[in-house]
Amino acid sequence: MASRSREEILDSLVRILEDMTADWDMDLDDPIDEATRLMADLEFESIDVVQFIVAIEERFQQRGMPFEELLMEDGRYVDEITVRDTVDFLDRHLAG
């Protein structure tokens, strides 16, 4: 599997999120990009995070990544996740 650039990862994540939120009747001020906050901007709830992770694993065909690193900090669940956080996480963990 060829390694992916940050841009490719970002592009994939934006596509996933656009597809995921297509039916959510949201009026976003800005298009989804690296700065988008999942909870504050896209109104993600915990079940949406679970679906997001599954969609990422399906898109990149890789299971078993330590998503707790993204969702938890110092052993505690974080209150917010940005697209940039997710890109950073995948940049570290996607198989090269």
Binding site: M20, D23, W24, I47, Q51, V54, E68, M72, D74
Partner: protein
């Protein structure tokens, strides 16, 4: 293949269905049973929606199929990391794949753990998916667009409402009973409209639809339906609730009749529930008991910053457990698993049970659990099963170390509250081990009650009805007496080879594409003169 229909009735029990048939609320079901068979259907050791329906779909028990609960958890740092089981956790081939890879068409609606959806020769509309994710989780996606065109279609009404279900898990308040019942009547109408449409536009050899309303009705409405508990002098409100519950089952009965009619006279109809139902009068707060025994310690929230404390209160409110892992050796992580996990020490100084002491610790804990008594000195727990006893098989790693069966089959509470044994103010319904099986149609024995069957016997019955062989590694069998002798004489049960990999159908499709691509490349190379 012979058209075959499976109707799932989540939580259905003859304790309730029989009186409903006798009282004329479900005349079509009564008529079907008069010409068909019935049997009690034994659920999985923890009678719960995900492990039980997947046992039905795979013909394998949870120790083999690998799903034990709605969610699974792992200890990470100072918290428990939770995630939902999904289709990819199922370690066995489903019947949808078995039929698809033998060129049969399947249509499946509202079955749990069907997302992300498997690619089948037909369609999949998964259950337990929020409306926000329904479209993406339907295979193929264009089915969602078809449904959107149906008059009155509402994804919000049809899909799983996690917020409502979360509230309901705490017990539906009495003032909400009416809304709760009517919501589920509307929800079942959505699913019925979907299956009616798809049976017309995308006819399948195996059509399977799960109505999960019976479970919702029986949790909150048990005392209005159980003949032993129905008030002899009901208040107007009690009469109204009972009437609404009857309305729900009356409408469900018409759906069963219409589905049968749509399937046609040659079709065989099978109905099954994932577990039964019965009354529960008490709650065992198992983590409170473990704490009293010195085996579990709650996390101290006093030393936390106010923001953290608030967040943890919200988590606790959602039935999460917050434990001090360094001082915890045994805990229950979910109320639905009815199970206890034992923490095995990971390192020196870790407060868990040393690996060498695991077997002894587990046996001693099981013995102590069986010693829990009520005020009258009567045991509260009827059985404690080890992981190997409850879930034998190669994929039982995520199963609880101990599975508890309480005397009234109630779910355990995991919250930090006293007393350990809590008497419910009202009788509620809970999952019991014996569900229902019913079947009718050409070749099905008429008007008989068979001995109790197991959930894993359903997949073989469906495969045989379709005219397909029963894979050699299924754990169930085509039970004696289900099909008539004359039918079996013309179509003896065929034993097939083993099941394929869980995602075999999708893989086959992928391989076909690759083969086509390969052929195309060879053709191009030949055209260019590089290959003969």
């Amino acid at each position: 293949m012979n058209p075959t229909v499976l109707i799932g009735l989540d939580g259905a029990t003859f304790t309730i269905l029989d009186p409903l048939m006798q009282e004329g609320v479900m005349p079509h079901l009564a008529s079907m049973l008069a010409s068909g068979v019935r049997a009690e259907l034994r659920s999985t050791p923890n009678p719960l929606t995900p492990p039980a329906w997947i046992a039905l779909m795979t013909g394998r028990n949870p120790g083999t199929h690998g799903v034990f609960d709605f969610i699974w958890s792992e200890e990470r740092a100072s918290e428990v990391y939770f995630t939902l089981y999904n289709f990819r956790d199922i370690q066995c081939e489903t019947i949808w794949s078995m039929v698809s890879r033998q060129q049969g068409r399947v249509g499946t609606l509202n079955f749990p753990m069907m997302s992300p959806p498997p690619e089948v020769n037909g369609y999949v509309i998964p259950g337990l998916v929020s409306w926000k994710h329904l479209r993406r989780n339907i295979f193929p996606r264009e089915v969602f667009d078809e449904l959107k065109g149906l008059p009155g279609f509402s994804a919000r009404e049809m899909a799983w409402d996690f917020d409502m279900e979360k509230e309901a898990a705490r017990g539906v308040p009495e003032e909400e009973y009416e809304n709760w019942i009517t919501f589920h009547i509307r929800r079942e109408r959505q699913w019925f409209a979907a299956v009616r449409h798809l049976m017309r536009t995308r006819p399948a050899d195996l059509t399977a639809i799960l109505f999960d309303g019976p479970d919702k009705m029986l949790h909150m409405g048990w005392r209005f339906l159980d003949p032993d508990l129905v008030p002899s002098d009901p208040s107007p409100w009690e009469q109204k609730i009972r009437q609404l519950l009857h309305d729900y089952f009356r409408e469900l009965d018409t759906f069963l009749a219409e589905i049968r009619e749509l399937a046609g006279p040659e079709a065989r109809l099978f109905m099954a529930s994932d577990h039964g139902f019965g009354p529960t009068r008490e709650v065992l707060r198992i983590n409170t008991w473990l704490a009293e025994q010195g085996l579990l310690r709650w996390r101290d929230m006093e030393d936390m910053a106010e923001g953290d404390r608030e967040r943890y209160r919200r988590l606790i409110d959602r039935h999460f457990v917050l434990l001090d892992w360094r001082h915890t050796r045994a805990y229950a992580s979910t109320t639905t698993s009815n199970g206890i996990h034992i923490r095995v020490a990971r390192s020196e100084g870790d407060g868990g049970v040393p690996a060498a002491d695991y077997a002894t610790f587990r046996q001693e804990l099981a013995d102590r659990l069986l010693g829990i008594t009520d005020e009258a000195g009567q045991p509260v727990i009827s059985r404690v099963l080890t992981r190997e006893e409850a879930f034998p098989g190669p994929n039982n790693r995520r199963a609880p170390d101990l599975t508890i069966v309480t005397r009234d089959h109630g779910f355990l509470s995991i919250v930090n509250r006293e007393p350990v044994l809590y008497r419910r103010p009202q009788v509620e319904g809970t999952h019991y081990p014996m569900g229902v099986f019913m079947a009718a149609g050409p070749g099905i024995t008429g008007g008989v009650t068979l001995p109790a069957m197991d959930l894993v016997d359903i997949a073989p019955a469906l495969l045989h009805s379709l005219g397909l062989p029963v894979p050699s590694d299924l754990e169930g069998r085509v039970v004696e007496g289900l099909f008539t002798d004359s039918f079996l004489a013309g179509r003896p049960v065929r034993r097939g080879g083993p099941t394929a990999r869980p995602d075999s159908y999708a893989l086959r499709e992928q391989h076909t594409l690759e083969a086509e691509e390969e052929a195309q490349i060879i053709k191009q190379l030949q055209a260019l003169g590089y290959m003969e």
